[in-house]
């Protein structure tokens, strides 16, 4: 375990060093992400100028929510990026090399790519979260702070799980599965609004099927003080169950892996 951790740290260090060789490309990627967030944010601000309160949420609430989702997504993107370009690894037969090494294969894939440029999106998320915290009068106590941390932790785990599912499916299709973007990029884009905005049925789906609501809507209303109950801070941790079928699917895929490429 300790050895694995050291190995992972080593992988990260290599990745960061290689990213820093191409500084301008690094900063331009960050610029691109910044622009897309800015236009999303402007869109939200303009909408709330017309409609100050929607389903009990104000602009500041939405900015807070948006910041948290951005953080969840970018953290998972940063460290699970190896799973993202997984189709290529499988198609080129590079997975053979992973299997040959006497180390945990999942750890190796995680370490294969650490996308430092996503730090731009992370910073944007932190800024939005900070803005929300300053502007909304939340009575912070230990439980609420714990809820916030659990949200970020649980959300990162959920997005990571989705990346693993996508990678696992690659073993069968050998292709990048673009429709899976709906569940990752789509969740980031549409997760800017608290999920009950999209209707009750959708909220139910996001609670039971893919537990987005457990890391977004429910803990959010607890932090904002709309709901009270000692269970809310721990709801985000419940979303961790999603990792079990994700990892199982990946393992199942590995057993089906037939080396391709040359």
């Amino acid at each position: 375990m300790r050895h694995g951790f050291r190995l992972y740290r080593h992988y990260i260090a290599i990745n960061i060093r290689s990213a820093m060789q191409y500084k301008s490309s690094f900063f331009l990627t960050m610029l691109g992400q910044l622009l897309s967030t800015v236009s999303t944010l402007f869109g939200v601000v303009f909408m709330f100028q017309r409609f100050p309160v929607v389903k009990g949420f104000t602009l500041n609430d939405v900015i807070l929510c948006c910041g948290i989702v951005q953080m969840q997504f970018s953290l998972s993107e940063m460290w699970a990026r190896g799973f993202d370009s997984f189709a290529q690894i499988v198609r080129k037969g590079e997975y053979d090399r992973v299997l040959l090494r006497p180390r945990n294969e999942i750890l190796q894939v995680f370490g294969a790519k650490f996308e430092l440029s996503r730090i731009g999106r992370l910073i944007q998320g932190i800024l939005m979260l900070a803005y929300g915290i300053v502007r909304i009068r939340i009575r912070w106590d230990f439980m609420k702070i714990l809820t916030l941390f659990n949200m970020i932790f649980g959300g990162t785990a959920l997005f990571t799980g989705l990346c693993i599912v996508r990678a696992g499916l690659c073993f069968f299709t050998l292709e990048g599965l673009e429709f899976m973007n709906i569940f990752t990029d789509g969740a980031r884009e549409h997760g800017k609004y608290p999920l009950n905005i999209y209707g009750e049925k959708f909220l139910l789906f996001c609670t039971v099927a893919i537990p987005y609501a457990l890391v977004q809507y429910y803990p959010l209303i607890y932090i904002l003080g709309q709901r009270d109950g000692c269970g809310y801070p721990f709801l985000p941790l419940l979303s961790l169950w999603f990792l079990i079928p994700s990892l199982a699917l990946f393992r199942f895929g590995v057993r089906h892996y037939q080396s391709s490429g040359s």
């Binding site: 610029l31 303009f46 429709f179």
Partner: protein, 267 residues
């Protein structure tokens, strides 16, 4: 003219090969459309009188936007052309006895039409069958439908004329990614891709309606449902024509000078 037509045909045939990608794109566009409509519905319910369009007009706007996304998206460049500019392949293009502008214009037009052709019909078909208020309504009148088609062509041409200016700028720079992403993001936002123009604050909106970006998707998608009609509609169409000629002239000028003193890269 014939040679540009064959560039167009070749690129069109190439684009029609990517059916799997089109399928994935369609799934994404369905999902996107539904999520946007659900979100706008929540805004609508919170205060129907503050909603700046008819709800059915907005729903039509979104479905048409999703169906014809490939035509109007401002950040979709022809990667072959970009690669050519950065690796020096531009030299071969310049050696051809054709106008760079017309050739690239024809290629971009074909690329967008092929992508849209593979996607739009299923999206529209399902959208029109959806129950009220979630489905695509019929056009306001036959005249509006006709004008929708005409302005859609104009909007597409204007979008490509914008891209041509960006290609022109790209030929003069070593690293162009930054300026490209900046211009297309700004254009995208101002064209009504993130939120339709009627949702902008009124003062900003009056300015925006005069900008070239308003002539891209905003005009056809709003004419369809009758949200844009009467004098405002005529003004918008005239502005489309004016901006199209301005952009075309600017793009031609840029590429003309590129033909004279292009910096060829690569080796």
């Amino acid at each position: 003219m014939k040679k540009y037509l064959s560039f167009f045909r070749l690129r069109l045939q190439m684009g029609m090969q990517y059916r799997a990608a089109a399928f994935a794109g369609m799934a994404t566009q369905f999902f996107w459309g539904f999520m946007l409509i659900f979100a706008y519905h929540a805004f609508y319910e919170s205060n129907p009188s503050a909603f700046p369009m008819e709800f059915s007009a907005l729903v039509s706007y979104i479905w048409l936007q999703q169906a014809f996304l490939a035509l109007f998206i401002t950040w979709r460049f022809d990667n072959d052309i970009l690669a050519m500019i950065s690796d020096g392949g531009l030299a071969y293009e310049l050696a051809r006895p054709v106008s760079l502008y017309r050739m690239w214009f024809a290629k971009n037009l074909a690329m967008r039409l092929s992508e849209a052709a593979l996607r739009f019909a299923p999206v529209l078909l399902v959208a029109i069958l959806l129950p009220k208020p979630w489905g695509l309504s019929l056009p306001k009148s036959p005249l509006h439908f006709l004008l929708f088609l005409i302005t859609m062509v104009l909007g597409l041409l204007l979008t490509i004329a914008f891209l041509m200016i960006v290609y022109g700028l790209t030929t003069r720079m070593l690293t162009s990614y930054g300026i490209r992403i900046f211009l297309s993001s700004v254009m995208e936002f101002l064209s009504g891709q993130v939120i339709p123009l009627p949702f902008f604050p009124d003062r900003i909106r009056t300015v925006l309606e005069f900008l070239p970006s308003a002539g891209m998707q905003n005009v056809p998608l709003r004419i369809y449902s009758g949200d844009l009609t009467g004098e405002a509609m005529i003004r918008a169409i005239l502005l489309q024509l004016v901006w199209l000629s301005v952009f075309a002239a600017a793009g031609k000028l840029l590429l003309k000078s590129a033909e004279k003193r292009a910096v060829l890269q690569g080796g």
